[in-house]
Subunit: 373 residues, 2 copies
């Protein structure tokens, strides 16, 4: 570590996101939301109750299972705005892909094929849209990500909200609708069993999670986003590597007749998300990926230990698939044939809810992840 | 008009929304979006092409017509924040209803029954959520609006985005998924004909449209939001009257076997939206509603003429239904039985695209409304 960098550990509270203030709202909102499910009876529609608390909401409409979701990018566009001054590129093509990834990578966890995406691009003023290079990158990146995921871009909103969104900034989100073609494909965790294999899919970098930390770190690095990583790339550019779209992988699995027993998108809470499943299992990890240089750099310069790093960042693993052990190698092959590195990382065991990362002698227990009421 | 109020006309450009800067993006995005429709073929799904350019996107999935949309509130929450200091109430229960109305009132225009809503509540920092009164009002208002519309609140996002959203503010949006139970119910305008009746449904006030103007006006009124209207209410309180939810009306029409030939949600562009239909018709209006006091007040004190007022605000009409002339009285009765004032306001005629408001000797022509490529 450079001696000019203070080695006070940076963490999320220091980076400005205080979940203790948001969680009471989330609980209140989840309770109120649950109480509205009876409204569907009037329409001959039923919800799949187990989808509440999972990453997408599922209803059965006229015999068809429809999944839907709304997700936000977060603050990653602020990094693009800062790095543009260094690289001369807007990076909004990557930002567009990140935003779509936030929605579709969650939607596929329940077994859905994403069909459509709506854009929500809420700018701090109409002048945001007058920057033609940035606007074209955003539109082209959005279109390309839709094409990769084979979804239709159905529409969207492009409001100019001076006074709500900061001047010169944009609040980006995506909503997505998908279909689950049969009940067999519905992936809410009921199929998971002792002995299942955990296949992890590689991340491309930080994705859109840990961005507050990345920004805070840039502030205290002497060269900020222009700092060099071990592979020679700029820190800021590497932070902006677009989030991997995992839709082609899950679609290829379905085509091969493989339905995961459960899936988890590894975003906030990092590897603690591996124990996302609603009931109790122990997740024993024996094989780690190589960590993308940008994440190693962040861990080192933010001076956080492995417990903090793996508990909040993806550390090279962007998506977890829990599959029958005898299909695990095939899952790896299919993912890699699509350019997504993958590996059999561990196994599911009967036991208390915990993630045991053996190579690091780290254990996260159930009380370290609260996602449901 | 009070002599202390400057009588310079206020308009949208002065109020900070410059559509000339947003429109090129909209066109680029619409072209790119349209180019992604072919992606659906891989899934055995088709879009309803005529739904592009309408207020919601429609796909046929396994024989079921699914409509979806994402809509934002705009800047109305800024009014609530300011008026709270006067009334001591947060008004976020109304703000919640406004946000849901933006989505569902658009979704129903294509003939859909809204089924689910996702919340997008993007705050300027985690401390936004620590204000318990405001948080409860937002949650309760959201739940109540879902109950009125008989939709399920399927989930949502509550990010804290310091640096993107202004400190102390919140960017609110809603996405909604609905079903159109049969092809007959699909309302994209192909049934509209010369001789159809135009039934207008009353608005409750400004709804969420014209808010920039309302805020700009408050700045130059000596008593701001505490100004008194002709009915004795406070200007700020009246601005915050929640948007009418029109879902119960369209649902009751469907139940009575009445399918509108077309529908238009009267939001931005005010009464110019009456000519929203994709092809050319003349819309001859013979009967005006009484104008809500808050809108009369705005017109008077912003010193805007009828052309500007009716061309940008709803002026008492929040939703337009175009129905067979022999069902028009029944439509009015059904709406009024649900507490929504309604009236047969005019008729559709073969002729050039224009809105002719006879009582005001006002005509808006096709070149005054650009919604499509």
């Amino acid at each position: 570590m450079s001696p000019s960098v203070p080695n006070t550990p940076l963490d999320y509270a220091a980076a400005g996101v205080d979940y203790s203030k948001i969680d009471p709202l989330k609980i209140l909102a989840q309770q109120a939301a649950r109480s509205t499910q009876g409204n569907l009876a009037a329409h001959g529609v039923t919800e799949i109750p187990a989808s509440r608390g999972e990453s997408a909401y599922v209803m059965e409409v006229g015999g068809v299972l429809i999944a839907s979701i709304t997700e936000c990018l977060g603050t990653k566009a602020l990094v693009a705005d800062a790095v543009r001054a260094i690289t001369g590129r807007t990076h909004y093509d990557s930002i567009a892909q990140d935003t779509i990834a936030m929605a579709v990578n969650d939607l596929i966890t329940v077994g859905a094929t994403p069909l459509s995406v709506h854009a929500y691009w809420s700018a701090g003023g109409s002048e945001w849209f007058a920057d033609e290079a940035r606007m074209r990158d955003l539109v082209n990146g959005w279109q390309r990500a839709c094409d990769v995921c084979k979804v239709s871009w159905g529409g969207g909103e492009t409001p100019a909200l001076a006074g709500v969104v900061e001047a010169g900034r944009i609040d980006l989100a995506a909503s997505s609708v998908g279909v689950i073609p049969s009940r067999d494909r519905l992936t809410l965790g009921d199929k998971m069993a002792d002995g299942d294999a955990i296949v992890l899919l590689a991340s491309s970098g930080i994705h859109a999670n840990g961005v507050s930390l990345a920004r805070k770190l840039a502030e205290r690095l002497p060269e900020g986003y222009a700092s060099k990583l071990s592979d020679g790339r700029l820190y800021g550019e590497a932070v902006l590597d677009a989030t991997t779209l995992y839709v082609p992988v899950t679609e290829a699995l379905f085509a091969a007749g493989i339905v995961p027993h459960y899936s988890a998108n590894i975003t906030g809470h990092g590897w603690r998300k591996i124990m996302r499943h609603p009931t109790d299992f122990t997740y024993r990890i024996h094989t780690l990926p190589s960590v993308p240089p940008v994440l190693s750099f962040m861990q080192q310069h933010a001076a956080i230990d492995d417990r903090e790093a793996y508990g909040s960042l993806n550390m090279g693993a962007g998506f977890a698939l829990y599959v029958a052990a005898d299909r695990a190698d095939e899952v790896v092959r299919i993912a890699e044939s699509l350019g997504v590195p993958a590996w059999v990382a561990g196994r599911v065991e009967a036991g208390p809810k915990q993630v045991v990362i053996e190579p690091l002698s780290l254990t996260y227990t159930a009380d370290e992840l609260h996602l449901r009421l």
